[in-house]
């Protein structure tokens, strides 16, 4: 399995990286916190760490640390617009239930 970006998400990430002027790709992760146990991490990556699991999706390098990977395997990151708001959305098949806003989740 893998962690992927939708084409639209990849386009936005590539654009942000270009404007930012530095960074090798995108880092996805999870950490324990929030109202339902776990929360996503979504950050620019300035370097590849030795134990990172690497993916390439529509030309964008995606990095996941090995501890987070079991919780994210199969996830597709999408970019969507909801009314005036727009941003990235994790479509994660591992999630059993999430808090109302979806920012933290349980597997």
């Amino acid at each position: 399995m893998a962690v992927t970006l939708s084409e639209r998400a990849a386009k936005h990430v590539a654009n942000y990286l270009k404007k930012r002027g530095k960074g090798v790709g995108l880092r996805l992760g999870v950490r324990t916190s929030g109202c339902s146990g776990m929360a996503y991490k979504l950050e620019f990556a300035d370097s590849v760490l030795s134990d990172d699991i690497e993916f390439e999706s529509h030309g964008v390098k995606v990095l996941v640390d090995p501890k987070s990977f079991p919780y994210l395997d199969g996830t597709e990151l999408d970019y969507t617009r909801e009314g005036l708001n727009e941003g990235f959305k994790f479509n994660n098949p591992n999630v059993k239930d999430a808090c109302g806003c979806g920012e933290s989740f349980n597997v």
Partner: protein
């Protein structure tokens, strides 16, 4: 689910802890709100995808109001209750507002509303702060919907020439709108940030801001990441609307139209604006319309013709530019970059004229309508704490005039020098001047001159309850603190007793830009004169201190002087008192030398006496300590 943005490495926010911050350009004609999404500054559009919010508020009798395009649409029908360009009234009294008679508003008389102007509307009496708050509230709601949460704060931009009263009014409006203000920053500074000039080479930059109805030019100096406003200028009645007017007149003439009805005039003005905007990207603009009167207008406006009919307007903007450079003591060759701000700078003839004047291509690749809001958003993002690790620069503003306090003899002791970056806090220790002095008057002043009488008085307060001590023994720490918005608080604390007093300087004491410029000019012109007067004053203060010291010495140890010596000392005191009244520093110094010579012997004898006394005291103390150790223990414990 909530939509996420990409954070800087290690900066992912905990769920529900996103630091949502925005930049707000609260403009005279239009306002905008912007934020940083995934590291990129973007303007937040309304539901219909429009970035601008016209700075217009319409008040209804039932207490409701409309803001933006809806209000703008009511302007023609209900001008009295539709407030536009309210920014011109911010922090202004009735007497500050010119051309009041040409405005459709009903102002409260100054007797009813001392201080800031107030407007009578169907929805009640409104202050400019309330009207601005209604605009800001609309922007806040737009931002909260778009970002999906509550704002931690906003950076709001103000013109560089805004004084304290106008800045405070802007802050008050934000507070009223429920927006925590992270900082107010100058519009030209925000534009420069949007272009990343804060990371660019140090040097002088000009910001040319031609908006809908106002023109501003600012000359900034960037040094160590700090923008200092060197000079500002402009024309508060010149903007893109005047270019529309020129085209409108040209249409009337070219189509040989008779005087028009109000509706037809409005229609033609709209066509004129469309033609202007079309010409930004095309060489020829069609002007075709059918008027209500039945007449048909079918013309073509070329770039050349538009250039000709608007030539004087463009030239009119360059006058303030020249003046601003002159005020800053610079020439066009000192200017490293020119930033274009305001929709009207899209016009090719404006671009061309500015480029020709500064002998370089102006920076124009960002949307000139949005550039100020974008810069403010970038600053807000940093202030809210969303910065990348190691990227810890913080843009600072500077205070325009030195802040200090009055010392003996009406002299100014500068505590925070002008062009210091803010926020700033500095402390200095002062002491008492007379024996047994129990109070100290603190007089806070602003200005560059050496004498208090030539500076602006900001505040006075008294520190009372200083324990009586000999002159010079008290240690009074005076702290000046300026917050990020330029508001000053001053505190005085006597260190041994801990008594304190403080004051926060009310913004109504703020200086206008002209006053600041005038005061700076004065200080340069009077540098030599001031130095002389300062030296004289200092000598006078020193003389008084010497007289006081000698007199108190005679009082306590007069028996050490022979009758003859005492007469001579007293004569020298009188001579010095007379000299202190004269304006001659030389006489004063001579008289002081005389008195010092006369009292030299006396001082030596007093010294001997006090040493003997001290020694005697010590031996008694030692005896006591040896005889009663438990008592020493106790007193030692107390000392700790």
């Amino acid at each position: 689910m909530a939509l996420l943005q990409i954070a800087e490495p290690g900066e992912s926010a905990a769920p529900h802890q996103h630091k949502l911050a925005v930049g707000i350009d609260l403009g005279t004609t239009n306002s905008l709100v912007a934020t940083v999404r995934s590291g990129l500054a973007v303007v937040l559009n309304d539901e219909l995808g429009r970035p601008l919010l016209p700075s217009v508020v319409h008040y209804e009798a039932d207490g409701r109001n409309e803001v933006g395009y809806e209000a703008q649409a009511r302007q023609a029908l209900d001008p009295r209750n539709t407030i536009g360009s309210v920014k011109r009234f911010m922090g202004r009294g009735l007497h500050d507002i010119t051309h009041r008679e040409s405005m459709p508003y009903e102002f409260e008389s100054s007797a009813e509303a001392p201080g800031m102007v107030r407007l009578r509307t169907a929805g009640g009496v409104k202050s400019p702060v309330e009207v601005s708050a209604d605009i800001l509230r609309t922007l806040r709601l737009r931002a909260e919907v778009a970002l999906g949460g509550q704002l931690v704060g906003a950076v709001i931009t103000v013109p560089a020439y805004f004084d304290d009263a106008q800045r405070q009014a802007t802050k008050d409006a934000a507070k009223l709108a429920g927006i925590p203000v992270l900082r107010l920053i100058n519009e030209p500074t925000a534009a420069a940030i949007a272009y990343g000039l804060d990371n660019a080479a140090e040097g002088v930059y000009a910001v040319y801001d031609l908006g809908g109805g106002t023109f501003d030019i600012s000359v900034l100096n960037l040094s160590k990441g700090v923008f200092e406003v060197l000079s500002t200028g402009g024309d508060s009645a010149l903007g893109g609307d005047d270019f529309d007017q020129r085209i409108f007149c040209w249409i009337l003439e070219a189509a040989k139209l008779l005087p028009l009805s109000v509706e037809d005039a409005r229609l033609l003005l709209t066509r004129a604006r469309e033609a202007k905007e079309y010409l930004t990207y095309h060489g020829v603009a069609p002007v075709t319309t059918r008027l209500n009167s039945g007449e048909v207008v079918d013309l073509e406006l070329t770039t050349e013709t538009f250039g000709e009919i608007s030539q004087t307007l463009v030239a009119k903007t360059l006058q303030p530019v020249k003046k601003a450079l002159r005020d800053a003591g610079l020439t066009v060759f000192d200017v490293k970059g020119v930033v274009m701000v305001g929709g009207a700078t899209r016009m090719p003839q404006v671009q061309h004229a500015v480029g020709e004047f500064f002998k370089q291509d102006p920076l124009n690749n960002l949307d000139p309508d949005k550039v100020v809001a974008l810069g403010a958003a970038m600053q807000a993002n940093l202030l809210a704490g969303n910065r990348a690790p190691g990227d810890d620069w913080l843009l600072l503003d500077v205070i325009p005039l030195s802040l200090g306090l009055e010392t003996m003899g009406g002299l100014v002791e500068k505590i925070i020098p002008r062009n210091s970056t803010i926020p700033a806090a500095r402390a200095q220790e002062f002491t008492t001047f007379r024996d047994g002095q129990t109070a100290l008057a603190v007089h806070v002043v602003q200005g560059e001159r050496e004498l208090v009488s030539d500076c602006r008085s900001l505040a006075r307060f008294e520190l009372r309850g200083i324990p009586p001590m000999v002159a010079g023994a008290a240690r009074i720490r005076v702290t000046f603190q300026i917050d990020a918005d330029g508001l000053l608080s001053v505190a005085a604390r006597e260190q041994t007793s801990g008594v304190e007093a403080s004051v926060t300087v009310k913004p109504s004491y703020g200086l206008s830009d002209d006053e600041i410029a005038g005061m700076l000019k004065d200080s340069l012109a009077h540098t030599k004169d001031d130095a002389f007067r300062r030296a004289l004053k200092e000598a006078q203060v020193e003389a008084q201190r010497l007289i006081d010291a000698v007199q108190s010495a005679i009082k306590s140890d007069g028996e050490l002087l022979s009758a003859e010596q005492r007469t001579r000392v007293e004569a020298a005191i009188i001579k010095l008192q007379t000299a202190a009244l004269s304006e001659s520093r030389r006489h004063l110094t001579l008289a002081m030398d005389d008195l010092e010579a006369e009292t030299k012997d006396f001082a030596a004898r007093r010294m001997d006496k006090s040493i003997r006394r001290a020694l005697a005291g010590k031996s008694i103390h030692q005896l006591e300590a040896a005889g009663n150790p438990s008592q020493t223990q106790v007193s030692k414990g107390e000392a700790e």
